[in-house]
Every structure is written in C-alpha cells, then in structure tokens.
C-alpha cells in the first residue's frame, strides 16, 4: 500500500452481555482519505465507530477487547485523559444534536474545551469553522439565536463545525445524511470531499451511491464481521466475496 495508515484496528471484539456485537475486527484506515464502512442495519457499524473514540465508556454493559492503534498509540488501553483523546476525533451522528445554547456558543463551547480562552481568538475561529462547514453565509446574522431554530440540515452542518472546532485529525460520521434532505446531504458530501485533504474521515453509511461517490476505501461489514475491505475500485468493481456481490447487487439489505 502506498498510503499511510492512520487507524489500525486489531482483533476488536465487543460483547453486550452474551451477545457479540463485533467479531474479530481487523481494519486499516488510511490517512487523509474517506473510508466508508458499509453494511446493512444492525451489523455493528455504529458500535465500531463508538469504539474509536471510546464513547463505549458511556455504556457500562459493553465489554470491549482488542487494540485500536491511532498513531501507534492503543487508545483502548489509554487510562489517563480520555478527554484529550476524544478531541482527536470529531463526531457527526445520525441526527444532529445541537447543544442547548446559541449558534455561536455551540462552537465557542468546543473551542473552550480545547483550551482557547481569548475572546478575539474564539470570535475568529467560530467564523472559520462555520465557513469550513459551509454554514457561515446562512447564519451570519443569527449567531445569537438558539441553535435548535436552524433547519435539520443546518443543524447537522453546525454539528460538523462544532466537531471540527476541537481541532481533530479524524472525523467519525455515523450515517450523517440519513435524516437530511438531498440538498443538505449534498452539502455534507461536498464538505467531506474538501475536508479529506486535512482529515482522515470514517463514514458509516448504508447508501451505496453515497459510498461510490465519495469513498476512497471501503469496508463491508455483515453481522458484526468484516467481509471485505479495499479501495473503492476493488470492492465496487470487483468484489471477491459472495456476500459483498449480493449486497452491492441489492439482493439483501
């Protein structure tokens, strides 16, 4: 492989009680590319994403084992400062969850968590990240309004801006367009394509066309297992496994 690996997942197993959600996951996620995790609902894509920024800690019933190496640092073993670790990754969830504050403060809150205290700098950066998320032109006059007054598509872009504001190296996106209208979805996709030069993007989706449009690297999962992974040309153009062929052919969902 010619490109650098950013995230290396080795022998990852996740149990919820006796139920195994993820089985022996081994994935290499390339740096500064869009990696799409593809698969039918309930195959463990979201859980996989949550393992990567230790959100699994929120659910005491989940037992996680294995290794997730980011820049040669096993984040699953990290004991101290999980909070710093989470800031390496921005998260975009299925539905936008703006924080209960103004549009401006949604971004400023993230900046403050990052340790930026100077008002002038916060001002400058809020503007910067809103522009980066393609939202600035729509909200420039509404900065003091509650964030929940934005449309769903705008809220999702606000959440993206908020995620970028902690200055991550990785963006984790969990079906970020599933609740959005086509135009907002397109906005998000375009933004991702621009952002991949600076960020490593992991995108969970079940929309095949979306995967085809923007992916560089594809991981196909089924029932908690990785069936196939490779570049988008390999997986879409010439799938090796029977299940991948069936899924791409639309035979099962």
């Amino acid at each position: 492989m010619e490109h650098e690996t950013k995230i290396e997942i080795r022998d990852l197993n996740v149990f919820a009680g006796k139920n195994q959600i993820l089985k022996n996951i081994n994935i290499d996620i390339p740096k500064n590319k869009i990696t799409v995790i593809l698969g039918p609902s309930g195959c463990g894509k979201t859980t996989l994403l949550k393992c990567m920024n230790r959100l699994t800690d929120l659910y005491p019933e989940l037992k996680v084992s294995g290794r997730i190496m980011i820049d040669n640092n096993n984040i699953l073993a990290a004991k101290e400062d999980i909070y710093k670790l989470r800031q390496q990754m921005g998260l975009l969830s299925q539905r936008p969850y703006p924080l209960p504050m103004t549009i401006y403060n949604n971004i400023a809150y993230a900046l403050k968590l990052r340790g930026i205290k100077k008002r002038r700098e916060i001002h400058k950066l809020v503007l910067h990240y809103l522009q980066q998320a393609n939202l600035w032109d729509e909200v420039r006059d509404r900065m003091r309004e509650p964030a929940v007054r934005l449309s769903i598509g705008q809220q999702q872009r606000l959440c993206l801006a908020r995620g970028l504001a902690v200055n991550p190296e990785i963006i984790l996106a969990d079906e970020p367009t599933s609740a959005l209208d086509p135009i907002s979805s397109q906005f998000i996709e375009e933004t991702f394509s621009k952002l991949k030069n600076d960020y490593t993007i992991v995108l969970v989706t079940h929309i095949l066309r979306q995967a085809k449009r923007i992916a560089n690297h594809v991981v196909f999962m089924y029932l908690g297992e990785v069936i196939e992974q490779g570049s988008v040309e390999e997986v879409f153009g010439n799938p090796k496994m029977e299940k991948t062929k069936l899924y791409l052919g639309g035979t099962f969902n």
Partner: protein, 296 residues
C-alpha cells in the same frame, strides 16, 4: 346496529368531552368567586393593604392583621425549598448520571412509598423526632433558646415531605435527555462534570424550574404536618428557631370554631383567598421562566 350513525356518535361523544373540559376549566374560577364573595364583608370594612400588612391579630376586638401568617408561610416554605432544592438536584443527577441502572430501579419504588405516606404521619414524626432534636440538641449547641416547635422544624418536616415528589419529577426530566446529546459533548472532550454543568443542566432547566415550582406550591399549601410542629403562635418570628403560624394552619385550626365573632368567618375565607392568589402567583412566575428557558 347502533342507534346513531357514526357522525352522530362523534357529536355526542365530543359533547361529553367539552362538558368535562368546562368543568375542569371553570372550577378554579368558581372557587375564586366563591371565596371572594365570602370575604367581601371583610374587604368592605378594611383596606386590602391593612389586612395584608397589619401585624395585630385580635378577632374579638375586630383587628385582622394577616401579616404574621403570611410571613410565617413564606419563611416555612422558603426554608423548606432551600433544604429541598439542592438535595433533590444532586440526588437526581447522581442516580441518573453516575450510578448503574439497577440503583434507579430500586430507588423508584422507595421514593414512591415516601410520597404515599400521609402528612399526619410526617407531622407525628416531626413532633417525636425533629422537635426534641431542635430543643435538646441543635438549640443548645447553637446557643439559642427554642422550644423546638418552630419555623425550622416545620421547614424540615415539609422538606422531607416534598423531596419525594420533586425528586421523582427531576429524575424523569434527566432520564428524558437523549443519550446522543451526552455523546455529542463527550465527543468534544468534555468531562462528566462539564457535560452536566454546561449541557444537561441547561437542557433540563425548564423542567427543573417546573419541578421546584410544583414543590413550592405543595409546600405553601401543606397544612397538617406544618400545623403540628410550627408552634401556632401569632407573632412575627425573629429567627427560624421561633414558633410561627401559617395561613393553612390558621384556617384548619379555627374554621368551625368561634364563628360567633363577627367577620371571623369572612376573615378565614380571606386567608383562603390569599392562599389561592399566592399559589396562582407562583404558578405564573414559574410559567414565565419555563417559557423563557424552553427555547433552547
């Protein structure tokens, strides 16, 4: 076959609904009007200002000053809320955010049992435990003279009474916050405490105000338990260790007795009217804050 066709049945059923609604909506009005008419005799002879702010209560010589009762009620209620609010808020946050789910499953029925205990039992407990505790230990320790029957005792019993109600509402409010919102702030690198302080509390604020308002209204109107431990002395309390008298206790202690005294009956009705108006006021203020904070 039905006697009426389905459109007719719809009309009949909705008529009943409108009647029930009217009953519920007009009852408070009727109550208000009834109390007003009954206390009109008193209001004709005395100015409202004098009634509310005069300190002298001597019905036999025609002096009706409600100020000591109002002050007593406000002190007891406020003190009870000062005890209740932090206890409930901290407990609710702890059980919903820090403990495993089974703790909540055990606590919920326990809280419900506490909420179901009759207020007379709380009052008795106050007489047997709280009053002696204050007169024998707390008073001497703080070097104040007190006989135990006091504003403090009433506030204490009252807070124990309303904690289960307020706590139950608060727990429901914190449980209703979507876990994704927590995930969102965690993913930004917030600690548990930062999440609670900046996001959860703010999200829950309208609900928290509503819960406290509900507790306040209950505390203000509570009669029996307060009456048993507050001392029932018509005097302006100088400290929380002094005995006092509350508006509900005034009505409960005296209605049906001494009604031969002129205007006494009317004065008690005025006390009830005051209670109603103050509760209404609490509700309005609460509503104002809920609307104000609900926009986020």
């Amino acid at each position: 076959m039905y006697l009426l066709n389905r459109v007719q049945r719809h009309r009949v059923n909705s008529t009943w609904m409108v009647i029930s609604l009217a009953l519920v909506a007009f009852l408070p009005f009727l109550l208000f009007i009834g109390l007003y008419l009954k206390s009109a005799m008193l209001l004709r002879d005395y100015s409202l200002f004098d009634l509310v702010f005069s300190k002298i209560w001597k019905p036999s010589s025609g002096q009706f000053g409600f100020y000591p009762f109002i002050v007593g009620s406000v002190w007891v209620t406020m003190l009870a809320m000062i005890i209740t609010a932090p206890v409930c808020l901290l407990t609710a946050i702890y059980v919903t955010q820090y403990t495993r789910k089974f703790v909540l499953r055990i606590m919920h029925p326990a809280i419900d049992i506490l909420a179901g205990i009759p207020s007379v039992v709380y009052g008795l407990w106050g007489i047997l435990v709280i009053v002696p505790f204050i007169s024998r230990y707390l008073g001497p320790w703080l070097e104040v003279k007190t006989m135990g029957y006091s504003i403090l005792a009433a506030a204490f019993v009252l807070s124990i009474m309303i904690i289960p109600f307020v706590l139950n509402i608060l727990i429901e409010i914190f449980k209703a916050i979507p876990v994704e919102l927590k995930e969102a702030t965690w993913s930004l690198g917030a600690t548990e405490w930062q999440t609670i302080k900046h996001v959860l509390l703010r999200k829950a604020l309208p609900g928290i105000i509503a819960a406290f308002g509900f507790g306040l209204a209950r505390a203000f109107g509570e009669t029996m338990a307060v009456l048993m431990v507050v001392g029932n002395v018509v005097k302006l309390p100088k400290s929380v260790f002094d005995p006092g008298y509350t508006l509900p206790a005034l009505i409960a202690n005296n209605y049906g007795e001494m009604l031969s005294i002129p205007k006494y009956d009317s004065a008690l009705m005025f006390a009830a009217l005051l209670l109603l108006v103050v509760s209404l006021f609490f509700n309005l203020v609460m509503h104002f804050f809920i609307v104000k904070f609900n926009k986020y």
